[in-house]
Amino acid sequence: MRDLTLEIVRRLSVRNLEIARNGKALLTVPRLSLDGPGPTLILGPNGSGKSLLLRCLHGLIAPDRGQVEQDGAPLGLEHKARQAMVFQQPVLLRRSVAANLDFVLKRQGVPRRIRKTRIEELLDEGGLEGKARQSARSLSGGEAQRLAILRALALDPETLFLDEPTSALDPGATQTIERMIQRASNRGVRIVMVTHDIGQARRLAADIVMMQGGRVVEHGAAKQLLDAPESDASRRYLAGGLVT
């Protein structure tokens, strides 16, 4: 039996996590650990609890039991400040592209002159140069998600959570997003990402958490889990069988 104590960025751990609604257990993770620099991809069918686990790790949802810990202490505001999250549907402020980035930089107390330079750097990084003054709401789906990732990276996070960021995008846009994620990971940002796309897991993951029915059924190095899964649920999911 695999040891299931979850540690993210070494000092972040999750234990005895339970979430239930109307008497039905939605998430049950007794002990689970993630080691190494990532990227970690949380893989599994719809309704398996992937997004719920991600939100717990980011502190957006308080579990009914158990807790997320960093350095053995409950996840606090100072820890959350070092995290960022990108959602499946990018939520952009009704402002210009540049103003969306300026919003988070300003909140961090970055001086105006430095903000301007930093915004230009970020826009270059996301291939959005020339769109600074454009309304963020008028961007295409791929551009909007790129802006959402840039805004998250503007926070200079230790950990970046991504909840199926490419699920609504075409292959070209997906490739661009994956490159951005890979670059961030190479710079040392700890990536924890939810996906149901096996190909994406193969392309990006260093390690994979396989979920089913609100439980972690397997966790291990990506290559090993994808090529020689230990659990039946993982084998069925990877074989393209129906897993509920």
Partner: protein, 237 residues
């Protein structure tokens, strides 16, 4: 028919020749309603935004009451404000009855629930969309209010214009608390009512034309802003 034509012609002359009495009435109307809407915005927007983002016991009841106040009969509002400001009323000492200030107060009472209710609807819708993202960015519920107000600005201007439309067209409440005193509290709507009863149709028609012009202009601006807000993904509720 000839009588109407001549009255209409006289009305147009009053407008085009810049009749001082007519334009002083228009100016007073605009002053009273603009002030009333500004004060309503200062009260109604924070109240509406607070009701949208805060969670407390009785919130649902407050929302129902606020929505009900939107349909409050203006003459009843006029009567209540009259009782408050009359010599024997609790605010009688201020001697505000039959002054433009009294008319502003009556219009504020009428317009504030409209601004607050529309603000709540707009902000609640936006807050629902922004909620997780703002929490992820570390923005507290309280700190989210200015963000939401700014991002909903187009829809909120629409709400203010809706309030202005109600204020400028109001007659029942302002005639009770203003008294329709010449050169003091006579506004467009009350003048139209008075001059029509006196048979002075030219002045009434001229003011009516200006009032319609203002209503059309306000509606045109509301439509344009609503369209822009819709394009930005925020439909006016």
């Amino acid at each position: 028919m000839q009588g109407f034509a001549s009255e209409f012609s006289a009305a147009m002359s009053l407008i085009l020749e810049g009749d001082s009495e007519l334009w002083s009435i228009v100016l007073l109307s605009l002053k009273v309603s603009v002030f009333a809407v500004l004060i309503s915005a200062l009260i109604g927007m924070p109240v509406g935004a607070a009701l949208a983002v805060a969670r407390f016991p009785g919130r649902r009841v407050l929302i129902i009451v606020m929505n009900a106040l939107m349909g409050f009969p203006p003459v009843v509002v006029g009567l209540l404000v009259y009782l408050m400001l009359s010599r024997s009323g609790p605010l009688g000492v201020l001697e505000l009855l039959y002054t433009p200030t009294a008319m502003i107060i009556a219009q504020v009472v009428l317009v504030t629930p409209i601004v607050a209710a529309l603000t709540r609807q707009v902000i609640e819708m936006l807050a629902e969309e922004y909620s997780e993202q703002l929490r992820s960015l570390g923005v507290s519920r309280l700190a989210s209010v200015p963000v939401l107000l700014w991002d909903a600005r187009l829809a909120l201007i629409t709400a203010l214009l809706a309030g202005f439309g109600r204020a400028i067209a109001e007659v029942g409440a302002v005639i009770i608390v203003g008294g329709n005193i010449n050169h003091v509290t006579r506004v467009m709507t009350t003048t139209i009512a008075l001059e029509t009863s006196k048979g002075n149709l030219a002045l009434a028609l001229a003011l009516g034309a200006i009032l319609i012009g203002i209503a059309v202009a306000v509606n045109a601006i509301v439509s344009t802003l609503s369209l822009r807000a819709e394009q930005e993904g925020l439909r006016h509720a």
